[in-house]
């Protein structure tokens, strides 16, 4: 679905009434697969590449989903297995009191009004089956105890709504028991995966990442060309040919970023920003073609897949004999790096505790995993005055900052990016308090939902974020939405086009590179997007 096929923004949500609910009880309301609100199934070839069950051709809108005959048994067995492996899952099945505090915290509910997108009901979809099959009271009383059988309509409902959750964890901030819907969705998706229900926008990146090291399936020689192309762009803008070390053994640091940063604009400007900064400080580092992806769509597939895809980062660090690892601006990548990597793929005892070779700062907070976030790294450089900056080169940009879900609610990374932004740009305006920091709203394209066929749902779910952006655009003249996530940079661009035209989207290191005075650079007349910097005339002799 293309943007122009949607109603006008002001009409999209005019029928949304939070307090108007269907007459029929939710357990009896079958799911309606409306085009624009669901994702296409995974192609068989992608499932085969990563050895996942039931590869076949099937269509969401057809009655028969070609499930294995014993699909109920498979799912209930997987259910039991996970109840015994994840205390989180077991507990979240047991203790919800349905107080409803989470109900209007989900962006998909706020923009779509579908009550099953209230986090509590999303979890009840699976909890009702839990009660029916795994609790004493449920087994005795069935429906009266809130239980229901796992039937095909229930399974279809799971598929629809667990791929309408972007695993942003906003509801878990408000839950009095810390029930995390992302955890419920992750396990819900794992169960769906057992019978071959997955979406292509997740499984294709997964398959690509497994085989070639990045989501886009770019082979090593393609990466080199792609990266050299950006090296040339930087030379055009600054007159400096920056370092581009690739697969270099013995480098001090391995640098891993999300592939979204070198795949398309505006992520590529962030990528160029990294190159410029790391060149300027003379860092001894290397890129890797094998570990050319920090993002990890395994997170949207299964815990096992997280581990399978993430393994390459430590493996490559070991092979290249680096001391520690630096990671780029990404969202869900940092959920994995921060909360799963050491547990799954560690211990990283072959690496050293990270120390910035430029400032001598020890990154104590990363001494176990040995992987540092570039925002931590750069804000440390700035703190020690290691970057020569001219923020006036960003005067034409009036920025606001979108806290990406995972750096916000899984890492607690709030001040570092803000420190950087304030230093490199004079015009920084925060969005309203209820939409930033730990209460930040998702781009509505995370967790594999940022595809075109799901466009209506994305634009609906994007309303809360866009609404806050429109506010600072109108009040403070903001024209740039900064974010620290590759999925954001891709999906927020579309969302701004729809909801808040005139606001462009970009990463933080793009602005750092704009402001960075590089040794021996030529007079800058354009910024890292190649757009003229207002008030700066090209010198005559250059013309």
């Amino acid at each position: 679905m293309e943007l122009h096929e949607l109603p006008k923004p002001e009409d999209l949500v005019k029928d949304v009434k939070y307090r108007k609910l269907p007459e029929k009880p939710w357990m009896q309301e079958p799911v309606d697969f409306k085009p624009g609100t669901y994702n296409y199934p995974a192609l068989a070839k992608n499932l085969k590449k990563v050895h996942m069950p039931n590869p076949r051709e099937w269509h969401v809108d057809q009655q028969d989903w070609h499930l294995p005959d014993d699909w109920q048994e498979i799912i209930l067995k997987g259910f039991k297995d996970r109840l015994e492996k994840y205390r989180s899952f077991r507990l979240f099945m047991d203790i919800c009191v349905r107080c409803g505090a989470c109900a209007d915290k989900c962006h998909f509910f706020l923009g779509g009004g579908d009550p099953k997108n209230m986090p509590v009901l999303r979890a009840e979809l699976i909890r009702s089956v839990y009660r029916n099959d795994f609790t004493t009271v449920g087994r005795l009383l069935g429906n009266l105890a809130g239980g229901r059988k796992l039937t095909l309509p229930v399974l279809k409902e799971w598929f629809y709504y667990f791929f309408q959750c972007s695993e942003c964890r906003r509801c878990s901030v408000f839950c009095p028991y810390g029930i995390d819907t992302a955890e419920v969705t992750m396990i819900g998706r794992e169960l769906l995966n057992l019978v071959g229900l997955n979406i292509n926008w997740v499984m294709e990146p997964v398959a690509n990442c497994f085989m070639t090291g990045n989501h886009l399936g770019i082979p090593p020689h393609g990466l080199v060309e792609n990266w050299e192309f950006m090296q040339d762009d930087i030379e055009e803008i600054t007159g400096i040919k920056v370092n581009l070390p690739i697969n270099k053994k013995g480098a001090e640091i391995l640098f891993v970023v999300p592939s979204g940063d070198y795949f398309a604009d505006p992520g590529s400007y962030t990528f160029m920003g990294y190159l410029a900064v790391l060149h300027e400080i003379g860092l001894d580092y290397t890129w890797s073609t094998y570990a050319s992806e920090g993002g990890n769509f395994g997170l949207f597939t299964s815990h096992e897949m997280i581990k399978r895809l993430n393994a390459k980062i430590y493996a490559e660090a070991k092979r290249l004999k680096v001391k520690w690892i630096l990671g780029g601006e990404c969202g869900h990548m940092w959920r994995v790096i921060h909360q799963y990597m050491d547990t799954m793929n560690g211990p990283a005892d072959f690496l050293e505790e990270p120390v910035s070779p430029i400032t001598g700062t020890k990154f104590e907070n990363a001494k176990g995993t040995k992987m540092v976030h570039i925002a931590e790294f750069t804000s440390d450089l700035i703190r020690h005055g290691k970057l020569n900056l001219d923020p006036s080169r960003n005067d034409h940009i009036r920025v606001t900052y979108h806290d990406s879900c995972n750096p916000a609610r899984a890492v607690g990374l709030f001040e570092e990016p803000r420190d950087i932004i304030r230093t490199v740009c004079k015009n920084f305006y925060e969005m309203p308090e209820d939409s930033i920091r730990e209460k930040t709203y998702c781009c509505a394209g995370g967790a594999g939902l940022g595809n075109d066929e799901n466009m209506e749902m994305r634009m609906r779910g994007g309303l809360p974020r866009a609404n806050a952006v429109r506010y600072v655009r109108d009040q403070r003249g903001v024209n740039r939405l900064l974010c620290m996530c590759a999925i954001d940079r891709a999906t927020l661009s579309t969302m701004m086009e729809y909801w808040a035209p005139d606001v462009s989207v970009g990463g933080i290191h793009e602005l750092v590179a704009n402001a960075l005075i590089m040794k021996g650079e030529k007079k800058r007349t354009v910024d890292f997007r190649g757009e003229p910097i207002p008030g700066v005339e090209p010198d005559e002799e250059e013309e």
Partner: protein
């Protein structure tokens, strides 16, 4: 399940339970069963049930540290860490859990979203649920502690103090306890919001109403017993002490209303371990709250971590060696 069906099903069950006790001690006259056997049975189910459930939870591993960070994490020395909303050490976790358990920190964040003309979304503060939630739980706690006076001789001084302050405003004779009023009001609010707010009505289950009705019935029967059909408290205490010292006996002349009250309490105790009421012990186990956000500092161990199939660098290089060499990339094997 239809909302009104849920409400009435729950109401019916509570009325049925009331009736059971009314008939049981009245016409049938089985005071021994309702005064001795059922309370013992309920106490056993309650304690064993809770312990079993907690052991079940405790036996399930916590494979990953999935702390939800609600503030600035600990990172560079000059950046202030919010150790309560994003704890990095045990003290922080204790502080966070304290705020969560005693002050309902997360619920305090609650907001209410409203969608206006032109797709404008606004947020308002919404603290009523927090306020009534906290009033409900604290008055419940106070009432439970006050009841210790029936089970102890001599009464501990803190129980006397609680009763004294709780009955400080001597509105009526006999003293109306402040917490009784607050408790009924708060439980009433929790019920009303369930039926009045459409979203909450839509998602509520019979069990949500059942717990509230049962608790309300306990509260109402307790108040009736104090204010209307008064029972002899000394005899109640005699029964309670007898139960507590395992020398149970039924004193003569305690009004039937007392047995109804006691039976409903027993029902709640029996229901507790099998229901959502387990949120009380459960909150202590919540991995998004009770773990420190120190993931990159301290390795969290997953006891069932197992090896997985990966695509190794060697396989990768085998597939692309010639092309890598063509663009000047170093290779491990020539």
């Amino acid at each position: 399940m239809n909302a009104w069906y849920s409400v009435f099903a729950a109401l019916f069950i509570v009325l049925f339970l009331t009736l059971v006790s009314l008939i049981g001690v009245g016409p049938v006259g089985a005071k021994g069963i309702f005064g001795i056997y059922i309370p013992y049975l309920a106490a056993v189910v309650f304690f064993v049930g809770i312990v079993v459930r907690i052991i079940q939870w405790a036996k399930v591993p916590v494979p990953f540290n999935i702390c939800t960070t609600g503030g600035q994490g600990k990172s560079l020395p000059w950046i202030k860490n919010d150790n309560l909303d994003c704890p990095h050490n045990t003290w922080g976790v204790i502080g966070r859990m304290f705020l969560e358990v005693f002050l309902f920190r997360s619920l305090f964040r609650n907001t209410k979203a409203q969608l206006g003309q032109g797709a404008k979304l606004t947020f308002a503060s919404a603290k009523w649920l927090w306020l009534f939630g906290i009033l409900f739980h604290y008055s419940f706690l106070t009432i439970v502690l006050r009841h210790l006076r029936f089970f102890t001789e001599p009464m501990p001084s803190f129980v006397q103090w609680i009763s004294y302050f709780d009955g400080f405003f001597e509105l009526l004779l006999p003293t109306v306890f402040l917490t009784d009023i607050v408790f009924l009001l708060a439980a009433g609010y929790l019920f009303l919001r369930r039926v009045v707010i459409p979203q909450i009505r839509y998602l509520s289950l019979p069990s949500d109403y059942f717990a509230l009705f049962l608790i309300l019935a306990i509260g109402i029967s307790g108040v009736l017993m104090r204010q209307v059909w008064k029972v002899d408290l000394l005899q109640v205490k005699e029964l309670a002490l007898g139960l507590a010292s395992f020398r149970p006996a039924i004193p003569q002349g305690i009004g039937d209303i007392f047995y109804i009250h006691l039976f409903l309490v027993c029902c709640l105790a029996v229901y507790f371990p099998f229901s959502k009421l387990m949120h009380a012990p459960g909150v202590f186990f919540s991995p998004t709250r009770n773990l420190a956000n120190n993931n990159r500092m301290v390795r969290h161990i997953n006891p069932w971590n197992y090896p997985v199939k990966v695509h190794t660098y060697e396989e990768y290089e085998d597939e692309y060696r010639e092309k890598m060499k063509a663009v000047g990339l170093p290779v491990d094997k020539e």
